[in-house]
Subunit: 360 residues, 2 copies
DNA sequence: TCACACGATGTGAGCGCTAACAAAGATTGT
DNA sequence: ACAATCTTTGTTAGCGCTCACATCGTGTGA
């Protein structure tokens, strides 16, 4: 393929220097774009680099500069839309400022697994950590294990979480920087939408216990119901999967056959619920209205097209990297620099799975 | 959180050595589990490491050993199930043999983007590359840019592709190691299933032009039809998304209102197609049968539950890492070592979206 | 004309580790 | 008892780069 035996060692700075007739330091200056190099010299060096196919050795550079230029991302073994989108946007943002991204995926979101993932990243000398969509225990484990390594959480923050989070809220890690999506606000919007449509109350297919996002969604739902003075039905928890949504919906139906509005913790669960409803002979939205969360690309093609809460994962990823950058390269110019609030708003996307209550 | 100012420099080997009253080399031996250290010495060193909270500096190690211990993965900005699962399984496999994983996501699967992603990884001195689900042009670009860096493609290989691929097949990169999933076989199985059900022919919602997986699926479908002596209807291409499946299905319906069996290039496209069918008043599977590809976790909850072709992405990822390991650490003991064939079989999962032809 | 500044370049040291060899001490055989 | 051997430990020299500083030249102002 390539006319190069991978056996002959890659050229190093000294090789380039020798060929160009300068010192290795001058080559370094050229490589790093120093202004103190004369034009002819720069040209000679460039030519030599070109001829040799020189690439700077990142490891040596990292050692000398005492910074690896890599961020670590901890994520979970889940192909869920949110975490994945966030991961990609983190990589984009990091890449745009010249940082690499190493990942460690924890098989479970348990403390143990998270700690092991963290260790893997630390072995690679990452400069900072972004942890995606954490659970309570994982966050806990993370912060005790961090030992001064800068880290930011992303994905599991409710309204109001820029920088150290105000005390008194049962969330994230007091003091642990976090950027997140307004889970609570999104859940509230979904619930309010349903209430506005005339439904007497809204049932909830909750996400798994212990997941920050899940809990804030539940919280937003509950608060809205309480504010409106409505009955708060017992939520049934799932595990984010369509299957669990299906099971949970059946359970809900058994307990309360008269329900008319359901808020699911995410879109796959809504999909499962839709199927359960169909099997039970309930029409959506005529008999039951359904709202999801995430706005996965497929949501528009569910039957019926799903009303859901869109999250801007990309923005969240960008801000997380910006925040981390502020921690590891303080005062390094405006690279990404997020706007003031580190909490990204959500957006209710109304499609055809919601309609007026049949009870009026 | 953690009672450690990140300002005081991390302890290094010499610090441990001094505290333990030995030479830094002895510390190195302990860290690397050398057998030539006496038990009391080892204990002293361990204690010193513990006390200081020592962690080996991976960068320095990488420089000295001339190997970074990191693999690079190139993937695309797509939250599709397959690529994501593969990515995770690669990380697992790499982690299990002590390798780190850096990722670079190309915004598009174009040569330009792939080359830039590759450059980002090379700057991190990765020891090898795994490229996920490539397109033709991307593979092309990759192999010219690789300059001796070991690389393996994963995800886009039809039956028969262990190691350098036999010439004569229009696929991957002649000579480019690849591990993949038996796309052609899976497509053939799907098509045959439909034919066995009595359908006269099978229409195809194809994946995007230029994607290896898409082309092999189309090929498998076409070959099966031809073998059976059936008419081969013109496929309509989509872009893997549900929206494109919807549009393509409508187009197919306009051209050939009598169709009774459809093979979609992936599950999201099948989902979109299902919706188009529903809007057109066709029942599935009574009027039209549908088969997808991938077996995404949600497929079981489509309406009706989707018959589809399951891919074992995890296995593919594992094998890719094993293969790469063979290239960068030849004869390094049986770490992952895949079994002989580097092509992972698929599995037809029959659910309720397929049924007997209405035309007989 | 000389002092001073400044731009362009080179020199040396060192980042934290591993590899290769050297130097002790312990053990063995004869 | 002495050489031969093995085990345990230390010493030295890099890996390829950047940083801090030294050096050389050229231009400027008095």
């Amino acid at each position: 393929m390539v006319p190069m035996r991978s056996s002959d060692p890659a050229p190093v700075m000294t090789d380039v220097a020798r060929l160009a007739g300068v010192s290795h330091q001058t080559v370094s200056r050229v490589v790093n774009g120093s202004p103190h190099v004369s034009e002819p010299t720069r040209a000679k060096v460039m030519a030599a680099m070109e001829q040799l196919g020189y690439r700077r050795n990142g490891v040596a550079r990292a050692l000398a500069m005492r910074r690896s230029g890599t961020l670590g991302v901890i994520t979970f073994d889940t192909v869920r839309y949110g975490p994945v989108s966030t991961l990609y946007s983190i990589e984009q943002a990091a890449g745009s400022v010249g940082l690499g991204v190493s990942i460690a995926v924890a098989e479970q979101a348990t403390s143990d697994e998270v700690v092991r993932a963290l260790a893997r990243l630390q072995d690679q000398s990452v400069e900072g950590i972004v942890a995606i969509a954490p659970r309570h225990d994982a966050v806990e484990a993370l912060s005790t294990e961090l030992r001064g390594l800068p880290a930011v959480l992303v994905g599991g923050v409710h309204g109001g979480g820029s920088g150290p989070i105000a005390a008194g809220d049962e969330q994230a890690r007091p003091g642990q920087p976090a950027v997140g999506i307004d889970q609570r606000g999104g859940a509230a919007a979904a619930t309010r939408h349903l209430l506005d449509l005339g439904h007497r109350t809204v049932h909830h297919l909750a996400g798994p216990r212990g997941w920050l996002d899940a809990e804030w969604r539940t919280e937003g739902w509950r608060a809205t119901l309480e504010e409106a003075g409505r009955r708060v039905p017992e939520p049934v928890a799932g595990d984010w999967s369509a299957g669990s949504g299906y099971a949970a919906m059946r359970e809900l139906l058994a307990v309360d056959p008269d329900l008319s509005a359901v808020f699911a913790a995410n879109d796959p669960m809504a999909l499962g619920a839709l199927r359960a409803l169909d099997e039970a002979g309930r029409r959506v939205p005529e008999d039951v209205s359904m709202v999801g969360f995430d706005d996965v690309p497929e949501a528009e093609f569910f039957r019926p097209p799903l009303t859901t809460v869109r999250q801007h994962f990309t923005e969240a990823g960008r801000r997380a990297v910006g925040m981390l950058l502020d921690m590891i390269r303080p005062g390094d110019g405006p690279a990404i620099r997020p706007g003031p609030p580190a909490v990204v708003p959500t957006e209710l996307v109304v499609r055809r799975s919601t309609g007026p209550s049949p009870h009026r």
